[in-house]
Amino acid sequence: MPTFFEKRQLVTPGDLLAEGDYIAGENTYKENDKIYASRIGLVDYEDRKVNVVALRAFYIPRVGDTVIGTVVEVGFNGWTVDINSPYLALLRASDVLSRPFRPQKNDLSKVLDVGDLVIAKIIAYDRAHNPQLTVGEPGLGKITRGQVVKITPTKIPRVIGRKGSMISMIKQETGCHIILGHNGVILITGKRLEDEQLAMMAIHKIDEESHTSGLTDRVTKMIKNEKAKRKGGS
């Protein structure tokens, strides 16, 4: 039962990863007892399970995920939200307005209008229906300030880092509050625009170099250098 690659090696679609009694994990598929990669990414052998951490992918909704989306349409009894996925999500008016609403009287665009950003949670999704959102939990709802960054959704775990090391480092160094959407959209809110920009730079760097090792140290260094530069300049 051989494996054909080393851990964390770059593989392309169609590469034979393992043969025999293995389980096909993420971004892989099994045919005739052979496991192949189905996306470009880094392989990971974990006991009997073979995974590929994709470098290029898009977001597929999952129930329970927190996402950040843009309102693209105001309907009669809810909103259509673009959540950076192949499927548009629905947010029902009854979920946002606590009191009972009447479509004739209440103007939904006064609550949320086209272009508004929302943090929401996915409460229902299956192959046959578009995902449904809720904002009825603390921390969810309309975004009023901050910066939004988009990255490849599969790289969100990399931004978090091992046991949250990366994200807590960025938060500490820049003094910003950061919310990660599972759909690859990140909200950064800080006291000053410069802080927010610094955090954005760090996240872009992680997105570009997510497949390299020792990234946390390099990002820390980058932030410190930038800070020093700015102090010197002002």
Binding site: L10, T12, P13, G14, D15, L16, N27, Y29, E31, Y36, S38, R39, I40, A54, L55, R56, A57, F58, I60, P86, Y87, L88, R127, A128, T152, E208, E209, H211, T212, R218
Partner: protein, 244 residues
Amino acid sequence: MSQKVEKLIDKKGLRLDGRKPDELRPIKIEVGVLANADGSAYIQQGKNKILAAVYGPRELHPKHLALPDRTVLRCRYHMAPFSVQERKSPAPSRREIELSKVIREALEPSLFLEYYPRTAIDVFIEVLQADGGTRCASITAASLALADAGIPMRDLVVACAAGKVDDTIVLDLMDTEDKKGNADVPVALMPNLNAITLLQMDGNLSLEEFEKAVNLAIDGCKKIYAMQKEALRAKYVNIKEVEE
């Protein structure tokens, strides 16, 4: 004004551009060349210059075209008006519509279309300069663009043609050989699975010649496959090297 038919293969057994019968044209492939597309690729194969762009999977409009159980793959092969000697009308010709279908059917088996129902994947292929064998180069580029867009696939699809010119079986025909030669056999292949996704023949070949041509084309495909994979990796390996 009858002109003597020029020899397509000289006494030394070399072709018009100096290639041996089983030699490919020089190939250059780049991945991720367009910022606005979800995935893209560019290929130069001899004088061919082709761009491929992929969008999706995304909501399908008009909605009634969507399928409840799978993604709709849409393909558009288009030749730029300046891609050939005589200006080509930019409107889709009979040939382009047919090639769009042929390319779509060559790519479809490689994708897991059943993963994302009710959506569409759009593939746009723009031939900037044509010199024979554009359908093959287009398939090679389009498959890379799909991989670059992060669409799950069984294997990359690679295509190459073989044919008969002056009674010799040759690989990777260019425009003159295609037009003046006896036959042309384009083959598209998923090399790791050893599965053919496109096989056409234009002209006449005996059974033995056909077999020889197909095998030669498959060998050519495998050579291009190595370059294709290299191009896909290059996008990420470069970043790694800069850092270290």
